[in-house]
Protein backbone atom coordinates (compact mmCIF):
# COMPACT_ATOMS: atom_id res chain seq x y z
CA UNK A 1 0.00 0.00 0.00
CA UNK A 2 1.59 3.25 -1.05
CA UNK A 3 -0.09 5.60 1.46
CA UNK A 4 -1.11 4.86 4.99
CA UNK A 5 -4.51 6.55 5.37
CA UNK A 6 -7.23 4.82 3.25
CA UNK A 7 -9.51 7.09 1.24
CA UNK A 8 -12.31 4.59 0.66
CA UNK A 9 -13.25 1.89 3.18
CA UNK A 10 -15.89 -0.74 2.54
CA UNK A 11 -16.50 -2.65 5.75
CA UNK A 12 -18.65 -5.82 5.60
CA UNK A 13 -20.70 -4.27 2.80
CA UNK A 14 -23.57 -6.28 1.39
CA UNK A 15 -26.53 -5.64 -0.89
CA UNK A 16 -29.93 -7.29 -1.06
CA UNK A 17 -32.19 -6.49 -4.00
CA UNK A 18 -35.73 -6.14 -2.77
CA UNK A 19 -37.23 -5.42 -6.17
CA UNK A 20 -40.35 -7.51 -6.76
CA UNK A 21 -39.74 -8.87 -3.24
CA UNK A 22 -37.12 -11.28 -4.56
CA UNK A 23 -34.74 -10.64 -1.67
CA UNK A 24 -31.72 -11.46 -3.85
CA UNK A 25 -28.36 -11.21 -2.10
CA UNK A 26 -26.08 -9.52 -4.67
CA UNK A 27 -22.99 -8.63 -2.66
CA UNK A 28 -21.85 -9.99 0.67
CA UNK A 29 -19.03 -9.26 3.10
CA UNK A 30 -17.14 -6.86 0.86
CA UNK A 31 -14.11 -5.55 2.72
CA UNK A 32 -11.94 -3.19 0.75
CA UNK A 33 -9.68 -0.26 1.54
CA UNK A 34 -8.41 2.04 -1.19
CA UNK A 35 -5.53 4.46 -0.64
CA UNK A 36 -5.46 8.03 -1.97
CA UNK A 37 -4.20 8.23 -5.54
CA UNK A 38 -4.54 4.51 -6.10
CA UNK A 39 -5.76 3.00 -9.37
CA UNK A 40 -7.84 -0.06 -8.63
CA UNK A 41 -9.90 -2.20 -10.99
CA UNK A 42 -12.79 -4.53 -10.25
CA UNK A 43 -13.43 -7.60 -12.41
CA UNK A 44 -15.91 -10.42 -11.98
CA UNK A 45 -18.55 -12.54 -13.72
CA UNK A 46 -21.40 -10.74 -15.49
CA UNK A 47 -24.07 -9.43 -13.15
CA UNK A 48 -22.07 -10.13 -10.00
CA UNK A 49 -22.42 -6.56 -8.74
CA UNK A 50 -19.26 -4.77 -9.93
CA UNK A 51 -21.16 -1.64 -10.92
CA UNK A 52 -23.18 -1.84 -7.72
CA UNK A 53 -19.98 -1.30 -5.72
CA UNK A 54 -19.46 1.98 -7.61
CA UNK A 55 -23.06 2.96 -6.94
CA UNK A 56 -22.55 2.27 -3.24
CA UNK A 57 -19.42 4.43 -3.10
CA UNK A 58 -21.09 7.26 -5.04
CA UNK A 59 -24.31 6.99 -3.03
CA UNK A 60 -26.57 6.71 -6.07
CA UNK A 61 -28.00 3.33 -5.17
CA UNK A 62 -31.79 3.13 -5.33
CA UNK A 63 -32.57 2.42 -1.67
CA UNK A 64 -36.24 1.79 -2.47
CA UNK A 65 -35.32 -1.48 -4.16
CA UNK A 66 -32.11 -2.39 -2.31
CA UNK A 67 -30.98 -2.91 1.25
CA UNK A 68 -27.45 -1.83 2.01
CA UNK A 69 -25.56 -3.55 4.81
CA UNK A 70 -22.21 -2.72 6.35
CA UNK A 71 -20.32 0.56 6.51
CA UNK A 72 -18.97 2.79 3.76
CA UNK A 73 -16.43 5.48 4.66
CA UNK A 74 -15.09 7.96 2.12
CA UNK A 75 -12.53 10.51 3.26
CA UNK A 76 -13.75 9.91 6.81
CA UNK A 77 -17.35 10.65 5.84
CA UNK A 78 -20.38 8.54 4.98
CA UNK A 79 -21.05 7.98 1.27
CA UNK A 80 -23.97 10.43 1.43
CA UNK A 81 -21.83 13.15 3.04
CA UNK A 82 -19.08 12.54 0.47
CA UNK A 83 -21.60 12.91 -2.36
CA UNK A 84 -22.96 16.10 -0.86
CA UNK A 85 -19.38 17.40 -0.58
CA UNK A 86 -18.91 16.40 -4.26
CA UNK A 87 -15.93 14.21 -3.43
CA UNK A 88 -16.74 11.63 -6.08
CA UNK A 89 -16.84 11.90 -9.88
CA UNK A 90 -18.59 9.25 -11.97
CA UNK A 91 -17.96 8.14 -15.55
CA UNK A 92 -20.73 5.87 -16.81
CA UNK A 93 -20.56 3.10 -19.38
CA UNK A 94 -22.41 5.34 -21.82
CA UNK A 95 -21.00 8.88 -22.09
CA UNK A 96 -24.29 10.35 -20.75
CA UNK A 97 -23.66 13.66 -22.49
CA UNK A 98 -26.47 16.15 -22.94
CA UNK A 99 -27.04 16.18 -26.69
CA UNK A 100 -28.32 19.77 -26.77
CA UNK A 101 -25.10 21.06 -25.21
CA UNK A 102 -21.73 21.51 -26.90
CA UNK A 103 -18.60 19.76 -25.61
CA UNK A 104 -17.68 22.96 -23.73
CA UNK A 105 -21.16 23.27 -22.22
CA UNK A 106 -21.22 19.59 -21.24
CA UNK A 107 -17.98 19.95 -19.30
CA UNK A 108 -19.36 23.16 -17.78
CA UNK A 109 -22.46 21.37 -16.45
CA UNK A 110 -21.22 20.41 -12.95
CA UNK A 111 -19.53 23.79 -12.58
CA UNK A 112 -22.80 25.58 -13.40
CA UNK A 113 -24.61 23.44 -10.84
CA UNK A 114 -22.01 24.20 -8.18
CA UNK A 115 -22.21 27.90 -9.04
CA UNK A 116 -18.65 28.56 -10.25
CA UNK A 117 -18.26 31.99 -11.89
CA UNK A 118 -18.17 32.18 -15.69
CA UNK A 119 -14.54 33.31 -15.91
CA UNK A 120 -13.33 30.60 -13.54
CA UNK A 121 -15.42 28.07 -15.43
CA UNK A 122 -13.87 29.10 -18.72
CA UNK A 123 -10.33 28.65 -17.42
CA UNK A 124 -11.06 25.24 -15.91
CA UNK A 125 -12.74 23.95 -19.05
CA UNK A 126 -9.90 25.17 -21.25
CA UNK A 127 -7.47 23.21 -19.09
CA UNK A 128 -9.64 20.11 -19.13
CA UNK A 129 -10.03 20.26 -22.91
CA UNK A 130 -6.24 20.36 -23.18
CA UNK A 131 -5.95 17.44 -20.75
CA UNK A 132 -8.18 15.24 -22.93
CA UNK A 133 -6.84 16.70 -26.21
CA UNK A 134 -10.19 18.04 -27.38
CA UNK A 135 -9.40 21.76 -27.63
CA UNK A 136 -10.53 21.86 -31.26
CA UNK A 137 -13.87 20.27 -30.48
CA UNK A 138 -15.13 22.69 -27.82
CA UNK A 139 -18.05 23.86 -29.97
CA UNK A 140 -19.00 20.47 -31.33
CA UNK A 141 -22.11 18.63 -30.18
CA UNK A 142 -21.87 15.02 -28.90
CA UNK A 143 -23.41 13.58 -32.09
CA UNK A 144 -20.48 15.05 -34.05
CA UNK A 145 -17.91 13.09 -32.02
CA UNK A 146 -16.75 9.47 -32.08
CA UNK A 147 -17.57 7.16 -29.16
CA UNK A 148 -14.05 7.51 -27.78
CA UNK A 149 -14.15 11.29 -27.96
CA UNK A 150 -17.53 11.33 -26.24
CA UNK A 151 -16.11 9.25 -23.43
CA UNK A 152 -13.17 11.66 -23.11
CA UNK A 153 -15.65 14.52 -22.73
CA UNK A 154 -17.39 12.48 -20.06
CA UNK A 155 -14.07 12.03 -18.21
CA UNK A 156 -13.30 15.75 -18.49
CA UNK A 157 -16.76 16.54 -17.12
CA UNK A 158 -16.22 14.20 -14.16
CA UNK A 159 -12.93 15.95 -13.41
CA UNK A 160 -14.38 19.44 -13.80
CA UNK A 161 -15.20 19.97 -10.13
CA UNK A 162 -11.95 18.32 -9.09
CA UNK A 163 -13.24 15.40 -7.02
CA UNK A 164 -10.45 13.41 -5.32
CA UNK A 165 -12.13 10.12 -6.33
CA UNK A 166 -13.10 9.05 -9.85
CA UNK A 167 -15.38 6.06 -10.36
CA UNK A 168 -15.46 4.56 -13.84
CA UNK A 169 -18.06 2.00 -14.85
CA UNK A 170 -16.81 0.15 -17.96
CA UNK A 171 -16.23 3.45 -19.74
CA UNK A 172 -14.49 1.95 -22.78
CA UNK A 173 -16.64 -1.17 -23.17
CA UNK A 174 -18.28 0.05 -26.37
CA UNK A 175 -15.01 0.95 -28.11
CA UNK A 176 -12.96 -1.10 -30.54
CA UNK A 177 -9.64 -2.64 -29.49
CA UNK A 178 -7.44 0.19 -30.80
CA UNK A 179 -9.66 2.94 -29.47
CA UNK A 180 -9.76 1.27 -26.09
CA UNK A 181 -5.95 0.88 -25.98
CA UNK A 182 -5.51 4.55 -26.88
CA UNK A 183 -7.92 5.70 -24.21
CA UNK A 184 -6.30 3.42 -21.64
CA UNK A 185 -3.00 5.22 -22.26
CA UNK A 186 -4.69 8.59 -22.05
CA UNK A 187 -6.39 7.59 -18.82
CA UNK A 188 -3.08 6.58 -17.26
CA UNK A 189 -1.65 9.98 -18.24
CA UNK A 190 -4.66 11.79 -16.77
CA UNK A 191 -4.39 9.75 -13.58
CA UNK A 192 -0.69 10.50 -13.25
CA UNK A 193 -1.27 14.21 -13.85
CA UNK A 194 -4.29 14.62 -11.60
CA UNK A 195 -3.35 12.08 -8.86
CA UNK A 196 -6.98 11.03 -8.50
CA UNK A 197 -8.04 7.82 -6.82
CA UNK A 198 -9.60 5.74 -9.58
CA UNK A 199 -11.94 2.80 -9.10
CA UNK A 200 -12.42 1.20 -12.51
CA UNK A 201 -14.95 -1.52 -13.33
CA UNK A 202 -14.28 -3.59 -16.43
CA UNK A 203 -15.11 -6.88 -18.13
CA UNK A 204 -11.65 -7.00 -19.67
CA UNK A 205 -8.99 -8.67 -17.53
CA UNK A 206 -6.30 -7.33 -19.87
CA UNK A 207 -7.56 -3.78 -19.42
CA UNK A 208 -7.68 -4.21 -15.64
CA UNK A 209 -4.10 -5.51 -15.49
CA UNK A 210 -2.84 -2.88 -17.92
CA UNK A 211 -4.34 0.02 -16.01
CA UNK A 212 -4.31 -0.78 -12.35
CA UNK A 213 -2.10 -1.14 -9.36
CA UNK A 214 -4.48 -3.68 -7.84
CA UNK A 215 -7.23 -5.82 -9.35
CA UNK A 216 -10.16 -6.90 -7.19
CA UNK A 217 -11.62 -10.21 -8.36
CA UNK A 218 -15.22 -10.84 -7.41
CA UNK A 219 -16.92 -14.22 -7.18
CA UNK A 220 -20.34 -14.97 -8.71
CA UNK A 221 -23.51 -13.94 -6.83
CA UNK A 222 -23.72 -13.43 -3.94
CA UNK A 223 -20.43 -11.79 -4.84
CA UNK A 224 -17.54 -11.70 -2.43
CA UNK A 225 -13.98 -10.57 -2.96
CA UNK A 226 -12.23 -13.71 -4.12
CA UNK A 227 -8.78 -12.21 -4.35
CA UNK A 228 -7.01 -8.89 -4.66
CA UNK A 229 -4.13 -9.16 -7.11
CA UNK A 230 -1.32 -6.59 -6.93
CA UNK A 231 0.04 -5.50 -10.31
CA UNK A 232 3.53 -4.19 -9.88
CA UNK A 233 4.56 -3.26 -13.42
CA UNK A 234 5.97 0.26 -13.62
CA UNK A 235 4.13 3.02 -15.50
CA UNK A 236 3.98 3.84 -18.39
CA UNK A 237 3.05 0.37 -19.51
CA UNK A 238 3.13 0.72 -23.30
CA UNK A 239 5.78 -2.01 -23.66
CA UNK A 240 4.05 -4.36 -21.24
CA UNK A 241 2.56 -6.36 -24.12
CA UNK A 242 5.97 -7.88 -24.77
CA UNK A 243 6.30 -8.94 -21.16
CA UNK A 244 5.52 -12.55 -20.30
CA UNK A 245 4.69 -11.56 -16.71
CA UNK A 246 1.83 -9.42 -18.00
CA UNK A 247 0.22 -12.45 -19.64
CA UNK A 248 0.87 -14.56 -16.55
CA UNK A 249 -1.01 -12.01 -14.47
CA UNK A 250 -3.90 -12.09 -16.93
CA UNK A 251 -3.95 -15.89 -16.94
CA UNK A 252 -3.97 -16.06 -13.15
CA UNK A 253 -6.99 -13.77 -12.94
CA UNK A 254 -8.71 -15.59 -15.80
CA UNK A 255 -8.30 -18.93 -14.02
CA UNK A 256 -9.82 -17.48 -10.89
CA UNK A 257 -12.77 -16.17 -12.87
CA UNK A 258 -13.21 -19.36 -14.91
CA UNK A 259 -13.73 -21.28 -11.70
CA UNK A 260 -16.68 -18.97 -11.10
CA UNK A 261 -18.45 -19.70 -14.41
Amino acid sequence: MKKAEPQIILDQVGIIYNDYKIGLQALTDINLTIAPGEFISIVGPSGCGKSTILKIISDILDLETTVLKGKVTILGKTASEARQARNVGFVFQKPTLLQWRTVFQNIALPLEIIGISKSERFQKIENLLKLVHLEKYANFHPDQLSGGMQQKVSIARALAYDPPILLMDEPFAALDELGRRQLNDELIKIWQKTKKTIVFVTHSIEEAVYLSERVVILSKQPAQIKKIETISFPYPRKTIFNDLEFFKAITNIRKLLENEE
Partner: protein, 261 residues
Amino acid sequence: MKQTLKNIITLIILISLFGVSIYIWEELVIKYQIPKRILPQPSIIFVYLSNEIISGRLTLITKAMESFRDALLGFILATFLGVLLGLTLFSKENFRIIFAPFIFITQLLPVPAFAPVVAALFGYGMITKIFIIVLFTIFPVINTVEKTIQNYPQQYFDLFQTYHASYQMILKKLIIPAIIPNLLITLKILTTASIVTSIIAELPLTISKGIGKDLYNSFNNQIIVRVWASLVIITIFSLLAFYCINNLETYILRHYHYEKS
Protein backbone atom coordinates in the same frame (compact mmCIF):
# COMPACT_ATOMS: atom_id res chain seq x y z
CA MET B 1 -29.15 22.90 -53.45
CA LYS B 2 -30.44 19.41 -54.20
CA GLN B 3 -32.80 19.64 -51.22
CA THR B 4 -34.11 23.05 -52.32
CA LEU B 5 -34.87 21.71 -55.79
CA LYS B 6 -36.63 18.72 -54.23
CA ASN B 7 -38.71 21.07 -52.06
CA ILE B 8 -39.66 23.21 -55.07
CA ILE B 9 -40.73 20.14 -57.06
CA THR B 10 -42.80 18.85 -54.12
CA LEU B 11 -44.46 22.27 -53.81
CA ILE B 12 -45.25 22.37 -57.55
CA ILE B 13 -46.76 18.86 -57.38
CA LEU B 14 -48.86 19.82 -54.33
CA ILE B 15 -50.15 23.02 -55.93
CA SER B 16 -50.93 21.15 -59.18
CA LEU B 17 -52.84 18.44 -57.31
CA PHE B 18 -54.75 21.09 -55.38
CA GLY B 19 -55.58 22.93 -58.64
CA VAL B 20 -56.72 19.72 -60.34
CA SER B 21 -58.96 18.84 -57.33
CA ILE B 22 -60.56 22.28 -57.42
CA TYR B 23 -61.11 21.97 -61.17
CA ILE B 24 -62.74 18.54 -60.80
CA TRP B 25 -64.96 19.88 -58.00
CA GLU B 26 -66.01 22.84 -60.17
CA GLU B 27 -66.74 20.65 -63.18
CA LEU B 28 -68.66 18.02 -61.18
CA VAL B 29 -70.93 20.62 -59.59
CA ILE B 30 -71.69 22.11 -63.04
CA LYS B 31 -72.13 18.77 -64.79
CA TYR B 32 -74.47 17.25 -62.19
CA GLN B 33 -76.14 20.60 -61.41
CA ILE B 34 -75.66 20.20 -57.69
CA PRO B 35 -77.66 22.91 -55.89
CA LYS B 36 -75.70 25.73 -54.23
CA ARG B 37 -77.32 24.94 -50.88
CA ILE B 38 -75.72 21.48 -50.97
CA LEU B 39 -72.33 22.11 -52.58
CA PRO B 40 -71.36 25.45 -54.10
CA GLN B 41 -68.79 25.75 -56.89
CA PRO B 42 -65.28 26.72 -55.75
CA SER B 43 -65.47 29.78 -58.02
CA ILE B 44 -68.55 31.02 -56.11
CA ILE B 45 -66.76 30.52 -52.79
CA PHE B 46 -63.76 32.38 -54.21
CA VAL B 47 -65.97 35.27 -55.38
CA TYR B 48 -67.66 35.40 -51.97
CA LEU B 49 -64.30 35.58 -50.23
CA SER B 50 -63.01 38.19 -52.70
CA ASN B 51 -66.05 40.36 -52.07
CA GLU B 52 -65.37 40.09 -48.33
CA ILE B 53 -61.91 41.47 -48.90
CA ILE B 54 -62.72 44.02 -51.65
CA SER B 55 -65.73 45.44 -49.82
CA GLY B 56 -63.54 45.91 -46.74
CA ARG B 57 -66.11 44.25 -44.51
CA LEU B 58 -63.78 41.43 -43.57
CA THR B 59 -66.40 40.03 -41.20
CA LEU B 60 -65.31 36.44 -41.68
CA ILE B 61 -61.63 37.21 -41.25
CA THR B 62 -62.29 39.38 -38.18
CA LYS B 63 -64.41 36.63 -36.67
CA ALA B 64 -61.77 34.05 -37.53
CA MET B 65 -59.16 36.23 -35.81
CA GLU B 66 -61.34 36.28 -32.66
CA SER B 67 -61.58 32.48 -32.65
CA PHE B 68 -57.88 32.03 -33.30
CA ARG B 69 -56.94 34.51 -30.60
CA ASP B 70 -58.92 32.39 -28.12
CA ALA B 71 -57.42 29.21 -29.55
CA LEU B 72 -53.93 30.66 -29.10
CA LEU B 73 -54.70 31.72 -25.55
CA GLY B 74 -56.06 28.26 -24.73
CA PHE B 75 -53.11 26.63 -26.46
CA ILE B 76 -50.57 28.65 -24.46
CA LEU B 77 -52.43 28.03 -21.19
CA ALA B 78 -52.78 24.29 -21.92
CA THR B 79 -49.07 24.04 -22.73
CA PHE B 80 -48.00 25.92 -19.62
CA LEU B 81 -50.39 24.13 -17.25
CA GLY B 82 -49.81 20.78 -18.96
CA VAL B 83 -46.04 21.00 -18.48
CA LEU B 84 -46.53 22.06 -14.87
CA LEU B 85 -48.97 19.21 -14.16
CA GLY B 86 -46.82 16.68 -16.02
CA LEU B 87 -43.81 17.62 -13.92
CA THR B 88 -45.86 17.46 -10.73
CA LEU B 89 -47.29 14.05 -11.66
CA PHE B 90 -43.75 12.79 -12.21
CA SER B 91 -42.24 14.17 -9.03
CA LYS B 92 -45.10 13.84 -6.51
CA GLU B 93 -46.42 10.32 -6.23
CA ASN B 94 -49.33 11.25 -3.94
CA PHE B 95 -50.46 13.89 -6.40
CA ARG B 96 -50.31 11.30 -9.18
CA ILE B 97 -52.40 8.76 -7.25
CA ILE B 98 -55.10 11.32 -6.42
CA PHE B 99 -55.28 13.43 -9.59
CA ALA B 100 -54.20 11.16 -12.47
CA PRO B 101 -57.69 9.57 -12.85
CA PHE B 102 -59.36 13.02 -12.98
CA ILE B 103 -56.87 14.23 -15.57
CA PHE B 104 -57.55 11.11 -17.63
CA ILE B 105 -61.31 11.76 -17.44
CA THR B 106 -60.81 15.11 -19.22
CA GLN B 107 -59.99 13.04 -22.31
CA LEU B 108 -63.32 11.27 -22.22
CA LEU B 109 -65.48 14.39 -22.13
CA PRO B 110 -67.29 15.36 -25.34
CA VAL B 111 -66.65 19.09 -25.67
CA PRO B 112 -70.05 20.30 -27.01
CA ALA B 113 -71.89 18.28 -24.36
CA PHE B 114 -69.67 19.52 -21.59
CA ALA B 115 -69.74 23.20 -22.63
CA PRO B 116 -73.14 24.03 -21.04
CA VAL B 117 -71.98 22.52 -17.74
CA VAL B 118 -68.89 24.74 -17.72
CA ALA B 119 -71.02 27.68 -18.86
CA ALA B 120 -73.30 27.21 -15.86
CA LEU B 121 -70.22 27.67 -13.67
CA PHE B 122 -68.29 30.39 -15.50
CA GLY B 123 -70.95 32.07 -17.63
CA TYR B 124 -71.43 31.94 -21.38
CA GLY B 125 -68.43 34.07 -22.32
CA MET B 126 -64.78 33.87 -23.14
CA ILE B 127 -63.60 32.30 -19.84
CA THR B 128 -65.75 29.25 -20.48
CA LYS B 129 -64.45 28.97 -24.02
CA ILE B 130 -60.80 29.15 -22.93
CA PHE B 131 -61.52 26.70 -20.11
CA ILE B 132 -62.97 24.21 -22.60
CA ILE B 133 -59.99 24.56 -24.97
CA VAL B 134 -57.59 23.97 -22.08
CA LEU B 135 -59.65 21.06 -20.78
CA PHE B 136 -59.70 19.39 -24.17
CA THR B 137 -56.05 19.92 -25.11
CA ILE B 138 -54.18 19.64 -21.82
CA PHE B 139 -54.08 15.85 -21.49
CA PRO B 140 -51.63 15.12 -24.35
CA VAL B 141 -49.23 17.73 -22.93
CA ILE B 142 -49.38 16.22 -19.43
CA ASN B 143 -48.96 12.74 -20.80
CA THR B 144 -46.02 13.69 -23.04
CA VAL B 145 -44.16 15.43 -20.22
CA GLU B 146 -44.74 12.68 -17.66
CA LYS B 147 -43.90 9.78 -19.98
CA THR B 148 -40.84 11.46 -21.48
CA ILE B 149 -39.29 11.98 -18.06
CA GLN B 150 -40.32 8.53 -16.85
CA ASN B 151 -38.64 6.89 -19.85
CA TYR B 152 -35.52 9.04 -19.80
CA PRO B 153 -32.40 6.93 -19.00
CA GLN B 154 -31.82 6.69 -15.25
CA GLN B 155 -28.08 7.31 -15.74
CA TYR B 156 -28.77 11.00 -16.44
CA PHE B 157 -30.56 11.38 -13.12
CA ASP B 158 -27.75 9.45 -11.40
CA LEU B 159 -25.26 11.83 -12.99
CA PHE B 160 -27.04 14.85 -11.53
CA GLN B 161 -27.19 13.08 -8.18
CA THR B 162 -23.39 12.75 -8.16
CA TYR B 163 -23.26 16.55 -8.55
CA HIS B 164 -25.62 16.88 -5.59
CA ALA B 165 -27.88 18.96 -7.85
CA SER B 166 -31.11 20.44 -6.47
CA TYR B 167 -34.47 19.55 -8.07
CA GLN B 168 -34.60 23.05 -9.60
CA MET B 169 -31.22 22.44 -11.25
CA ILE B 170 -32.28 19.01 -12.55
CA LEU B 171 -35.43 20.64 -13.90
CA LYS B 172 -33.57 23.47 -15.59
CA LYS B 173 -30.56 21.60 -16.94
CA LEU B 174 -32.03 18.17 -17.69
CA ILE B 175 -35.79 17.72 -17.56
CA ILE B 176 -36.96 20.80 -19.48
CA PRO B 177 -34.45 20.42 -22.34
CA ALA B 178 -35.11 16.66 -22.44
CA ILE B 179 -38.88 17.01 -22.90
CA ILE B 180 -38.66 19.62 -25.69
CA PRO B 181 -38.52 17.30 -28.76
CA ASN B 182 -41.53 15.21 -27.71
CA LEU B 183 -43.38 18.26 -26.48
CA LEU B 184 -42.97 19.95 -29.87
CA ILE B 185 -44.49 16.92 -31.61
CA THR B 186 -47.48 17.07 -29.26
CA LEU B 187 -47.84 20.83 -29.71
CA LYS B 188 -47.95 20.39 -33.47
CA ILE B 189 -51.02 18.19 -33.08
CA LEU B 190 -52.50 20.53 -30.50
CA THR B 191 -52.37 23.62 -32.74
CA THR B 192 -55.16 22.28 -34.93
CA ALA B 193 -56.92 20.63 -31.96
CA SER B 194 -57.13 23.94 -30.10
CA ILE B 195 -58.47 25.74 -33.20
CA VAL B 196 -61.12 23.07 -33.74
CA THR B 197 -62.07 23.16 -30.03
CA SER B 198 -62.28 26.96 -30.11
CA ILE B 199 -64.72 26.77 -33.03
CA ILE B 200 -66.84 23.94 -31.63
CA ALA B 201 -66.96 25.51 -28.17
CA GLU B 202 -68.63 28.63 -29.64
CA LEU B 203 -71.73 26.70 -30.72
CA PRO B 204 -73.44 26.29 -27.34
CA LEU B 205 -72.11 29.60 -25.95
CA THR B 206 -73.36 33.14 -26.49
CA ILE B 207 -70.07 34.30 -28.00
CA SER B 208 -71.17 35.92 -31.26
CA LYS B 209 -67.83 37.23 -32.50
CA GLY B 210 -66.20 33.91 -33.36
CA ILE B 211 -66.20 32.17 -36.73
CA GLY B 212 -67.70 29.02 -35.17
CA LYS B 213 -70.87 30.84 -34.24
CA ASP B 214 -71.00 32.50 -37.66
CA LEU B 215 -70.62 29.12 -39.33
CA TYR B 216 -73.44 27.72 -37.22
CA ASN B 217 -75.73 30.69 -37.97
CA SER B 218 -74.90 30.60 -41.70
CA PHE B 219 -75.80 26.93 -41.82
CA ASN B 220 -79.11 27.56 -40.02
CA ASN B 221 -79.89 30.36 -42.45
CA GLN B 222 -78.88 28.16 -45.40
CA ILE B 223 -76.06 30.50 -46.52
CA ILE B 224 -73.98 27.50 -47.53
CA VAL B 225 -71.47 29.49 -49.55
CA ARG B 226 -70.61 31.42 -46.35
CA VAL B 227 -70.20 28.12 -44.52
CA TRP B 228 -67.70 27.01 -47.17
CA ALA B 229 -65.94 30.38 -47.15
CA SER B 230 -65.59 30.03 -43.35
CA LEU B 231 -64.13 26.55 -43.80
CA VAL B 232 -61.58 27.89 -46.27
CA ILE B 233 -60.49 30.58 -43.82
CA ILE B 234 -60.31 28.10 -40.93
CA THR B 235 -58.17 25.77 -43.06
CA ILE B 236 -55.80 28.56 -44.08
CA PHE B 237 -55.41 29.73 -40.47
CA SER B 238 -54.87 26.14 -39.25
CA LEU B 239 -52.27 25.54 -41.92
CA LEU B 240 -50.45 28.74 -40.99
CA ALA B 241 -50.45 27.82 -37.29
CA PHE B 242 -49.21 24.32 -38.07
CA TYR B 243 -46.52 25.73 -40.38
CA CYS B 244 -45.28 28.06 -37.62
CA ILE B 245 -44.98 25.27 -35.02
CA ASN B 246 -43.48 22.91 -37.59
CA ASN B 247 -40.80 25.45 -38.49
CA LEU B 248 -40.12 26.15 -34.83
CA GLU B 249 -39.71 22.41 -34.26
CA THR B 250 -37.34 22.02 -37.23
CA TYR B 251 -35.24 24.96 -36.07
CA ILE B 252 -34.98 23.79 -32.44
CA LEU B 253 -34.24 20.16 -33.34
CA ARG B 254 -31.52 21.16 -35.78
CA HIS B 255 -29.99 23.99 -33.79
CA TYR B 256 -29.73 21.97 -30.56
CA HIS B 257 -28.77 18.70 -32.32
CA TYR B 258 -31.79 16.78 -31.04
CA GLU B 259 -32.39 15.19 -34.44
CA LYS B 260 -29.31 13.02 -34.78
CA SER B 261 -29.37 11.58 -31.27
